[in-house]
């Protein structure tokens, strides 16, 4: 059974066809890329996969289950986590709290347990606490646990966001332009981090990225879209030499 199977997914906004007949099948364990010029519909695809939009047509099957009609938090609970193009951390809460709250779906206690501080409450809090610290440790963020994200440099905020997504224990991690706004040293760090995550966790990573260095060095397989439609797919080498991709990015020769 494949991990995720997207079949002829189409999304329209009014008259605009943002995504048309997008197909994708991942078996699990891959590290794939999604590229395309600005406004091609890449983030829309992520929004559809994470349940934020409902596809106008076509289907998304995650781990054998149709995700249409599910709310984003339900999709996340099934094992899809994502980061955002422009960092969306909860800026007035500590890094630790950010990571704890992201485990909301498996707290395992109800509101009354939180009033009465029952055994279930203590167990739940202990469990997510230990997972949160494990994640901070693994992501090398331990010393910033009690900082507010807004006080951290941009590169670290990215890492916190990835850690927050990882703490939902996803099977599929969607990274939306993780290298956007990072300097070259941070980009090197990011490449190492993503590779490390991919090697050390049982996880599939699907990333949108503009920086070719990141995509080409990380991804095993790349899909390129323009105006919502897939224009090329293949290994990094194939994509780099594909004339339609070059045309989409750089325009025609005969301008």
């Amino acid at each position: 059974m494949s991990l995720i199977n997207i079949d002829e997914m189409t999304q329209r906004f009014g008259g605009l066809q943002a995504v048309s007949k997008f197909d994708m099948e991942l078996q699990g364990g891959e590290l794939v890329g999604l590229i395309g010029p600005n406004g091609a519909g890449k983030t829309t695809i992520f929004n559809l996969v994470s349940g934020f939009y409902q596809p106008s047509e076509g289907s998304i099957t995650f781990a054998g289950k149709d995700t249409r009609g599910l709310k984003p938090h339900q999709v996340t609970a099934m094992g899809v986590a994502r980061t955002f193009q422009n960092i969306r951390l909860w800026h007035d809460m500590s890094v630790l709290d950010n990571i704890r709250i992201a485990q909301h779906y498996r707290l395992g206690y109800s509101v009354f347990d939180s009033f009465l501080r029952t055994k279930r409450y203590r167990k739940g809090e202990e469990r997510i606490d230990s997972i949160a610290w494990e994640m901070l440790e693994a992501m090398d963020l331990k010393e910033f646990a009690h900082e507010l994200p807004s006080n951290l440099p941009y590169g670290l905020q990215r890492r916190v966001e990835i850690a927050r997504a990882m703490s939902t224990k996803p099977k599929l991690l969607l990274l939306d332009e993780p290298a956007a706004g990072l300097n070259s040293a941070d980009v090197e760090g990011l490449i190492t981090l993503v590779r490390w995550i991919h090697d050390n966790f049982d996880i599939t990573i699907w990333m949108i990225e503009h920086q070719m260095k990141v995509v080409m060095s990380l991804c095993q397989y790349i899909k390129c879209i323009d105006f919502g439609a897939t224009i090329a797919e293949g290994t990094p080498e194939q994509i780099q030499n594909d004339p339609t991709v070059i045309k989409a990015y750089l325009g025609d020769d005969n301008i």
């Binding site: 983030t43 929004n47 934020f52 955002f84 193009q85 969306r88």
Partner: protein
């Protein structure tokens, strides 16, 4: 049938007041995204200014002008003075907060407090005794069958429509209107484009409060008893009307105001009058439930 026509005319008049006040709410909201909760009280102050102007300045205890002259000078004078009140509020209460970048809700609370100050300050200054507004216009009643229309009703309705047309023209067709719409889109980029944001905001307050003054004067002429709390309830209701129409949109405020007027008059026609608020608000809630952005509102697309 005749009862229906009579009700429609009454509803048009009643809705005109809501529409005039709702226009002020929506103008300020459209530009500043600020619920100016003091607006209902500015309307009340407008009515009192109209009273002061037409009694103590132009009327019997002032210059002693004839009624037509009081009307001719009183309307613009009231509008200007009320606009002054609105601009004063903006200058001393809202602008400093905006400059400090305070949370939007704190500005709203300040507006709420300013409303209370106006209401109770008036009560403290002028006492609780109700003021009787002088009759400035000889009442003419035209009857068609059993339907009677007074000249005042016609004037109120015409004034509401004219105000709508005027404001719509300003907002959609003039340079300052374009600036107002621009400010509501992006407050940070606009100063960089060379548009003086503060002047635009002051102009917005002038328009909104000026027409609240007009509404106050017309209201005082139609229901000639003034009291300090008259603005509170009608202000809240007009605000609700503006939201149901789709706040930030001139057409929405206008339609919402009349809608509320119609609902209220029709409810009173068929139910005991004590049910007016209950049924009117239930209907408005239902509309918001079905269309959460109001009749004319457009949902802002959320980008991630």
């Amino acid at each position: 049938m005749e009862a229906l026509f009579q009700n429609i005319i009454n509803a048009l008049q009643w809705g005109s007041f809501y529409a005039l006040i709702a226009l002020g709410y929506t103008l300020v909201y459209g530009v500043l995204l600020l619920i100016n909760f003091a607006h209902g009280d500015i309307f009340m102050v407008g009515a009192y200014i109209a009273f002061g102007v037409s009694v103590f300045v132009l009327g019997t205890q002032g210059l002693g002008l004839p009624n037509w002259a009081i009307l001719a000078c009183g309307v613009p004078l009231t509008m200007i003075l009320t606009a002054g009140v609105g601009v004063t509020l903006e200058r001393i209460a809202y602008r400093p907060l905006r400059r400090k970048g305070a949370h939007r809700l704190y500005v709203v609370i300040t507006a709420l407090m300013c409303g209370l100050i106006l209401e109770n300050g008036n009560l403290a200054l002028l006492g609780a005794s109700r003021k009787k507004f002088p009759e400035l216009m000889e009442k003419a009643v035209w009857t068609f069958g059993n339907v009677s229309v007074t000249n005042l009703k016609v004037i109120v309705i015409v004034a509401a429509f004219a105000t709508f047309a005027f404001l719509n023209f300003i907002v959609t067709r003039t340079r300052i209107g374009m600036a107002m719409r621009a400010v509501s889109y992006d407050k940070f980029a606009i100063p960089l484009m060379g548009i003086p944001v503060d002047s635009v905001i002051v102009f917005t307050f002038v328009l909104g409060s000026g027409f609240a003054g007009l509404a106050g004067m017309l209201f005082a002429m139609s229901y000639p008893i003034l009291e300090p709390y008259m603005g509170a309830l009608i202000g809240w209701k007009a605000f609700i009307a503006a939201v149901v129409g789709g706040i930030g949109d001139i057409r929405g405020a206008f339609v919402g105001g009349f809608l509320l007027g119609f609902i209220e008059i029709l409810v009173v026609a068929f139910f005991p009058s004590t049910f007016r608020d209950l049924i009117a608000f239930s209907i408005l809630l239902l509309i918001l439930w079905i269309k959460p952005t109001g009749l004319f509102g457009v949902a802002r697309h959320q980008k991630i």
